[in-house]
Point group: C2
Chain length 495, copies 2
């Protein structure tokens, strides 16, 4: 069945809220609904998400959308979601609240896995280091601290897969999500018996893994009646929000990278074959585009540090004014450096103790210098990831920029200048939802494959060239950024 | 001649302006006049002061004072001044503009002297390192770049001595001023023939050196007619503003230190005998109180960094509000450190390349954290000087606090807590002028000696005890401050 004027439903289950968008097959958004939420934080270092509440919120999002555009035009559904671990019982109900990526309870278990499995094998097979939010570490924590819940567990899942299960009656996960588990052979795209054994996870409890655009099932009759979505339209496997945002940026060509620049920057280069970083500094994932991988990872509070500075130090939310002040300062901020790592470093340093800093302050610096240093520091964080990718022998010839930072001319130009690479600034505001809709369009048969859908739905963007006259200056700034970052990390934690 | 109800005239020739105050022998100020000025900055790194213009400004200050209080009550005159080098010809007229301490033109000459004389001899005899503002370096620059002016020079002087010459017809300098020259044996309190020889300065051009309270001469008849000051009343030798501020804080007891806390903090401990720092980190001066020396020196932009932050980052001049915010933050600013050295480090590191920093930033920090970190960083800068003094074997049992920072309860308490020492917060607002008036009171015979005059004229102040419960925390903070400072200095200059 092919609808007339079909629309694609892209759903994004984010950390601080959910969004549902309807896109035309051109990529143009025609309606949007959103609801804020926050993870429950029952203890320090703990974070939880109520999967049933997310399911209810999804119903309200669809109800709101239906008030604007008739949902019978929807031809396919895709879901993007924050990384979570969710245990389901034999009936498909949650055994415990979902544990999102913010949660840090499994630190000891992550350290144990890192030791037991060893960096070599983790990098080679799992494509990343151990970390508290990885499902293998979380499952180990549950085995030790919630043995009864573990006993009742039939399936190891995610909030996204739970929503797909409710929509279609079918349970599966997607390759990018599985890539984060520390149980998955990222190169071969299958669960790894050895890793599962070391983590004491019986393969019988792991769901099938599908490529992101694969159809998990059709919308159930009961769901169709409640929501107005057509029964039977395909729901695809989808993927994690960071990966789907790179897809929403059009990342389907090896040699290209995407920079998803929000509170944090997520930077991934597209690869035609798997490439693992033996140091574990970079993450390798199966991409949402079948036959491809991505190499890179999430960084620190790049955009988040600017927001923090504006609201809590400068006492303003007039970001346009801050931008204008920063634009008047010369590249290099007259010797002022900012390390924006307010919550520790992730890719490629993975140092949770790292903190933010302004270094090189003089009496001549003004608020505009601090703002510009924040933007340049964010760009240096991205350059560090790109540098690590290139040092592994991969190409990065163009960077697709999406997310909040793409909205600022100055930020985009600084990114291009600091990276020394052309930036293609994409117009999409909800890149993860667009990525999910691209997958839905493929699942609905509107395009032959993901690259074709991405090309049609993401547009050309605006090309911003790096300015050669600032290259040497920013090379100096980046070298100083690295020196200062290393010096401060060596100086140890501030009590 | 003893006047009825005598007053003491204390004049302060500062960097950014001049002040003249009349004090009662109790130390109570009864009238004040002030005029702003700024050094002329003819080239980068150059600063100049027109001695004739300062003489004219002094006339206007006295005229303004005379409009408030009859100057015939004045019993003695003392002058405090910023450090300057001024060449006088045979008629007592300036050969060139005066070169104040801000001037950096003699950097190469300072480096030459440091090499030629050597750190050992500089420390042992001159009581300090070479620096561009030291008269020996400035004179060497003049010999090389202004040979004709050097040829016409009859006396090597200062702006303060020039004013005393105009007031009395007598030329001399004071022991603390001479201590800064790199030509003076600070321990023996006399010009050093060896240092003079190495700097090519003929001893015949050097003025007599007197103790600060010594009477240089009496007010001339012509000056008396023009100003209303009584003819013949004593004008004392006076001293540099930093040293006289410590005297205005009551620093005349070995075991005591003074912290003159303004844009920068000047910290000196009082000694009963000379003690030199072989590393040259600390400065040793003949004190303005005869028979005593002071050990310590000027620091960096302690108060200046707070003013800079308020005006140019937080965008406020409501220092009381900033103080209230900072007072709500726990000691240690929740892991945020500030290095306030916006213009480089002076005592005891002498690193002109050092810069300011905020280190340890997290998303949880607010403006109050940054403000408190600035105050704690300023206190750490002072503690570093006190620590160096104590490591040389000298006692510091109480610190007299004067200057702008003395006006804030929070700043004074943080100083006491970080130092782990009782702080005596003195009420005087113009400590340098009070120091000059104390010397004038001794010169006028109102007191038998400087300690007696200082005790009578400075008052008891308010004693602030360090809080034992914060001692361990601030020891940690100070250790981290040192580590971070060292790490950043090792990381090299930011381009």
């Amino acid at each position: 069945m092919r609808q007339k004027d079909p629309l694609l439903l892209g759903i994004d289950i984010g950390t601080s809220g959910g969004r549902a968008l309807l896109f035309e097959p051109t990529g143009r958004p025609v309606a949007q609904a959103s609801r804020p939420w926050a993870p429950h934080l029952p203890r320090p270092e703990w974070a939880e998400l109520d999967a049933e509440a997310v399911w209810k919120a999804l119903g309200l999002l669809l109800q709101e959308l239906a008030g604007r555009v008739p949902l019978h035009r929807v031809a396919g559904v895709g879901i993007s979601a924050q990384l979570t671990t969710l245990l389901l019982d034999a009936t498909g109900g949650p055994v415990l609240p979902a544990i999102p990526w913010l949660d840090r309870r499994a630190s000891a278990e992550a350290a144990h896995l890192q030791r037991e499995v060893g960096q070599g094998r983790l990098a080679e097979v799992a494509g990343r280091r151990a970390a508290p939010e990885r499902p293998a570490a979380v499952l180990r924590w549950i085995q030790r601290h919630e043995p009864a819940a573990w006993e009742r567990t039939a399936s190891i899942s995610t909030v996204k897969d739970f929503l797909v299960l409710r929509l279609t009656g079918k349970l599966a996960t997607d390759e990018p999500h599985a890539s984060y588990s520390l149980l998955f052979d990222v190169g071969k795209k299958c669960w790894d018996a050895g890793l599962c054994g070391l983590a004491d996870v019986p393969p019988s409890r792991l769901p099938d893994v599908l490529p992101s655009p694969a159809v998990v099932g059709g919308i159930r009759e009961s769901v169709a009646r409640e929501t107005g979505l057509p029964a039977g339209i395909p729901v695809v496997a989808g993927g994690p929000d960071g990966t789907l945002a790179t897809l929403g940026a059009g990342l389907t060509t090896p040699g290209m990278a995407a920079d998803v620049a929000g509170t944090t920057d997520v930077v991934f280069a597209c690869l035609a074959r798997p490439r693992m970083d033996p140091t574990g500094g970079l993450v390798t994932n199966a991409h949402a585009c079948p036959g491809q991988w991505v190499l890179g990872g999430p960084t620190t509070t790049t955009g988040g540090a600017l927001t923090w500075f504006a609201e809590h130090v400068a006492g303003t939310t007039d970001f346009a004014a801050l931008d204008r002040e920063a634009a008047e300062i010369a590249p290099g901020s007259d010797g002022l450096l900012c390390l924006p790592a307010l919550v520790g470093e992730r890719t490629p340093l993975w140092d949770p103790q790292a903190r933010g800093a302004f270094v090189g302050l003089t009496l001549g610096h003004r608020r505009g210098h601090l703002t510009r240093a924040l933007l340049e520091g964010g760009a240096c964080i991205v350059r560090r990831v790109v540098q690590a990718i290139v040092r592994l022998g991969e190409r990065v010839e163009e960077v697709r920029l999406v997310g909040g930072a793409a909205g600022s001319d100055l930020t985009a130009q600084i990114r291009a200048d600091v990276l020394g690479l052309p930036i293609r600034r994409m117009p999409v505001r909800e890149a993860s939802a667009l990525g999910a809709a691209i997958l839905a369009a493929v699942g609905a048969g509107l395009f032959s494959d993901v690259p074709a859908a991405a090309q049609a739905m993401t547009g050309a963007g605006e090309l911003i060239q790096p300015r050669a006259e600032h290259r040497a200056r920013y090379d100096e700034v980046f070298a100083a950024f690295d020196r200062v970052s290393e010096a401060l990390r060596s100086a140890g934690r501030i009590p």
